[in-house]
């Protein structure tokens, strides 16, 4: 499985024509303690770069953008009951949603791990 990154600090794990989306460890560190997560509705057709989810810390609300276009297949309901999971395991258990990849060519604009590391350095 390939993991790709956006400049807005989201990660996508690609498995066939399905992408699992979350925010990076760097992003959760910048946000601080997450106290609320709002997830998109299953079935929603996301367009690349539109606001898809919201993460809120004590201080502020931040949008999570759709890294690519596609339909939402599944959301991580665990985050509603335990938003702090985003701080504990951003790259793993705290995935936000799974989406169907509408257009594989959109993946071409994303970063691999080395490029993302350079981006946040």
């Amino acid at each position: 499985m390939t993991t790709l990154y956006t400049s807005d600090h989201e990660w996508l794990r690609i498995d066939g024509d399905v992408a699992t989306v979350g925010i990076t460890d760097y992003a959760q560190q910048q946000l601080g303690d997450v106290v609320f997560v709002e997830l998109p509705k299953v079935g929603r057709a996301l367009k690349k770069a539109e606001a898809a989810a919201v993460v809120e810390s004590v201080k502020a609300a931040s949008d999570v953008y759709a890294p690519i276009s596609g339909e939402v297949l599944e959301v991580n309901d665990e985050l509603s009951g335990e938003p702090a999971l985003v701080n504990a395991d951003a790259a793993g258990k705290a995935w936000f949603f799974k989406m169907k990849i509408a257009d594989k060519s959109e993946l071409g604009g994303l970063m691999d791990e080395a490029a993302y590391k350079a981006h946040t350095a």
């Binding site: 601080g32 303690d33 106290v35 609320f36 606001a51 919201v54 809120e56 810390s57 004590v58 201080k59």
Partner: protein
Amino acid sequence: MLAREDLTPLKRTPLHGLHLALGAKMVPFAGYEMPVQYAPGVLREHLHTRKLAGLFDVSHMGQIALRPKSGTIEDAAKALERLVPQDILGLAPGRQRYAQFTNEDGGILDDLMVANFDDYLFVVVNAACKAQDEAHLRAHLSDDCIIESLTGRALVALQGPEAERVLAKFCPDVASMRFMDAGPRRVDGIDCFVSRSGYTGEDGFEISVPAESAERLATALLTDSEALPIGLGARDSLRLEAGLCLYGHDIDTTTTPVEAALEWSIQKSRRTGGARPGGFFGENKILAQLASGAPRRRVGLKPEGRAPVREGAPLFVDAASSEQIGTVTSGGFGPSLNAPMAMGYVPTALSALGTRVFAEVRGQRLPLQVASMPFVQNTYKR
């Protein structure tokens, strides 16, 4: 992110170097470079303050001495009463009181703390308003008072249940102070002004210290393992849990003290029928509202769900109505409350506890209930 609207160089407090050494994340605030948080983050800093003790740098705030030209403190008190609806003449030596500068429309120019230091009044005002406040004082009190901006002083707040124990190591006398006592004290050999007050809802102290001794004092207080430095982020969530107003957000020139539910701060002596009724800017409107109420009121709001409802969210009477009835003026997540909380203005008819209103957040109408404040019980030592 906080947008900088101009390129004026940011000012620094006397504790700037200490903040950097302590690993603070610095942000622009009211023209100053201020610590918004340290390594533990807002949530832990907030909880630590409620459990043990937190040290805040609030040196950006304005400290002003009002010295009576006559040498008689009552003359300074009477003069200041022209600018605030509070009883200053009745403020005993060694005591402090919350007040508001009002304008001719009854709006609030700033809120402030006033202390009687026996031979002069000591005033603490908000950072963003301090230049304007000083000009206002000079314009109206210069015949009676020498107005001295105490720019050479830093201000720190030590707040939380362990604050008394920590501060008493350097100034044993603070243990005998009660809430809103204030006056000059020697702390670790430094000439300070100490008040038993703060902006967190916790017992605690504010300490005005000469700038050159500020870092030594802050470092000494932080040698106690139960005292941690706390940033502006937690200061905001602590004051919101305590139901305290933030100037420029919950109160401003368009809100009167009565609309802001600050009647408790206006003593009987300044009201109709009192010993010195009126005699302050906006007296007609404020006295009339004290007698018969205001059309709208600041209330506490508890979202029914888990989503925080933040400043600026419009309020509606139901889930469908297009007519906005009010606005959220502060809102966020309360770490001690472990739930979202907010305050805002609603029509007085909708201000009863338990009234349900709706806020629009990201296109959705979320239900909130009018709730009593403080959201978290205060622990002042009265």
